[in-house]
């Protein structure tokens, strides 16, 4: 087994927050005595990531994803547990570590707002001590991959959200980090920009072999980029394993979609083949047990004959599968 790039053991982060009930009396009481409560943002998670892996880190809002990324990047000190990234303890923030990693947050800017990105790149070149030849090669490569040609000469404040995100990516990767933590990298972007960013991340991983841990609420990001996912909820790890296995284990059914000629969808009785989920404009969607799906599909094709225009058999949408993981809160870690 290769040495893990990211190794996390029983990592915990507890925040102490102040609580106050509404109303004047409670406000006055809180002047004298504050009521505090411990919130377990990350409640002891363990996982490892090997070199070159692109792993999706999934969970609902408040699950502890961003807190974990902040600990792994060195921004936060954990309450307990261990973590090593590239053999460094992240929160010691040694310069050698900071030069080997990046944390990119989709809704945050790290560029100087009032100057063109090209000038910020020069500042970063000096901060990271990047030799001139390497700097030029990296900037050229990032410019080509992200289509930055015109953008880097405009002050950052004049860029659109999508343009700014591309430039932020370039700034975050200018020192060629071997580990990248991406927190919601496509948040707020339109579909075409999301696709471009996804393509870029995949290409960056292919070209550099960088290890990437990515959070996103857009399942398309995860499906396009990650073979493996780690699912956490309420600070606890619920699933760690291949994305492909997740549907099989959490959603033991397939979705059969049959398109019928002549609007027959509304009249044809298909209850015998599985649970009818929806009927719309000549199309019937059925939920069928995974084990019997091939046999039911064959029967459908046979029984409907020429009335059948099209048929497809698929796993349920990944959003639905993930939702089932959150709802069940059952822990499943692949070996």
């Amino acid at each position: 087994m290769t040495d893990a790039v990211v190794q996390v053991r029983e990592l915990r982060k507890t925040f102490r927050v102040t609580e106050r009930e509404e109303g004047l009396a409670a406000t006055l009481r809180s002047f004298v005595k504050r009521r505090r409560k411990d919130v377990n943002a990350v409640a002891g998670i363990t996982f490892r990531i090997d070199p070159g892996e692109v792993v999706g880190f999934l969970g609902p809002n408040g699950a502890g994803k961003t807190t974990t990324l902040k600990m792994l990047s060195g921004l936060l000190h954990p309450t307990a547990g261990e973590a090593r990234v590239l053999e460094y303890v992240p929160w010691r923030r040694e310069n050698a570590y900071l030069k080997s990693m990046t944390l990119l947050m989709g809704n945050r800017t790290q560029l100087v707002w009032d100057i063109p990105a090209a000038d910020s790149f020069r500042v970063l070149q000096e901060i990271y001590r990047i030799p001139e030849a390497q700097f030029r090669a990296t900037v050229n490569e990032l410019t080509e991959l992200l289509e930055l040609q015109e953008l880097v000469r405009k002050p950052v404040r004049n860029l659109s959200l999508g343009e700014r995100m591309k430039v932020e990516f370039a700034a975050g990767l200018i020192h060629s980090p071997s580990v990248a933590f991406l927190d919601e990298p496509t948040i707020g972007l339109d579909i075409s920009m999301q696709v471009r960013i996804r393509r870029f991340v995949a290409e960056y991983n292919r070209r550099t072999g960088a290890t990437i841990l990515l959070t996103s609420h857009y399942m398309d990001d995860v499906v396009a980029l990650c073979k493996r996912v780690i699912v956490i909820h309420r600070g606890r790890l619920l699933y760690d394993g291949p994305l492909a296995d997740l549907a099989e284990r959490m959603a033991p059914y397939k979705v059969i979609t049959a398109t019928l000629h002549d609007g027959a969808a509304s009249s044809t009785d298909l209850d015998a083949y599985g649970t009818v989920v929806s009927r719309e404009e000549g199309r019937v969607t059925l939920r069928v047990d995974r084990q019997v799906a091939p046999e039911r599909t064959a029967r459908l094709v046979n029984d409907l004959g020429s009335r059948l225009a099209d048929i497809s058999v698929e796993d349920p949408p990944i959003e639905e599968v993930i939702d089932r993981v959150f709802t069940s809160e059952q822990t499943m870690v692949s070996a």
């Binding site: 060195g74 921004l75 945050r108 800017t109 100087v112 100057i115 020069r122 500042v123 000096e126 002050p155």
Partner: protein, 264 residues
């Protein structure tokens, strides 16, 4: 590090050029207060036969002109900016780079001072002519002023950072720094030259750090203290600088563990 500073300086000058009007207004604001005090002391002195203690009208003019210059050269606004950065999580990108966040602040301070010194100089020459200021400055005073104002600027910078670092524990540093500014108002030599404060207040002022940031270098530049006294006062500056330098390192090390990176 020199190359890093050069790159940061270039970027900061470019960014500052976008806010040149704002910079000038800030500079004017920093001059208004001493000029108001100057006008008030001139009025008081004139009503008392033109002299208060060792100061006549022309001495007051020289003192407040020197104070304005020192105020501009030592001003440090880290506490305000830093609270904002911590509260909104804007500190995070800086913490993730292999460069201590304090360096960005050093550069911002240098650029602001360099870009405002010429217009300030013109205003101060104008004020000097208007009030017929009398400087008692000798070459020795000028020579001592350089290290004294550097010590004062470093002292203002590090004491500002100690206050700023409180933002790791409370996101309302503004209240603390306002209290600090009010104390400075009395004890730094703004309301009156330190030599004119009543005995006990003067002793307190010399035991506190505020006077070493403004009043002391201003008096050295004006030539208002003898060279041996100036050297003693500079020793006081050095002691306070050492205190705040180590306090900053200690508070930073503990504080950064508290950082909750809210929102980012």
């Amino acid at each position: 590090m020199i190359r890093t500073y050069r790159a940061l300086l270039v970027a900061q000058i470019q960014a500052a050029s976008a806010y040149r009007v704002q910079s000038i207004l800030w500079m004017l604001f920093s001059v208004i207060r001493p000029v108001i005090f100057l006008a008030a002391w001139v009025a008081v002195a004139n009503s008392q036969g033109g002299q208060i203690g060792a100061y006549d009208v022309r001495d007051f003019a020289a003192y407040y002109i020197c104070l304005s210059l020192v105020s501009n050269l030592t001003m440090s606004w880290n506490a305000y900016d830093f609270e904002f950065e911590v509260r909104l999580g804007r500190l995070s990108p800086k913490l993730l780079r292999p460069l201590h966040p304090i360096h960005y602040s050093v550069v911002e301070n240098i650029v602001w001072k360099v870009t405002t010194i010429i217009p300030l100089g013109i205003i101060l020459v104008f004020v000097s002519l208007t009030f017929d200021a009398r400087f008692r400055t000798t070459p020795a005073h000028l020579l001592l002023f350089v290290p004294s104002v550097l010590l004062a600027a470093a002292l203002a910078f590090f004491s500002g950072w100690v206050l700023a670092t409180l933002a790791f524990w409370t996101t309302r540093v503004h209240a603390v720094s306002t209290f600090w500014d009010r104390a400075a108002f009395i004890f730094a030599g703004q309301i009156a030259p330190l030599a004119l404060l009543p005995g006990p207040l003067q002793a307190i002022a010399l035991a506190l750090p505020f006077g070493y940031i403004l009043g002391v270098p201003a008096e050295i530049l004006r030539g208002g203290v003898s060279v041996p006294t100036a050297l003693q006062l500079m020793a006081g500056q050095a002691i306070w600088l050492v205190v705040f330098y180590f306090a900053f390192h200690r508070v930073w090390r503990v504080g950064v563990r508290q950082y909750s990176a809210v929102g980012a």
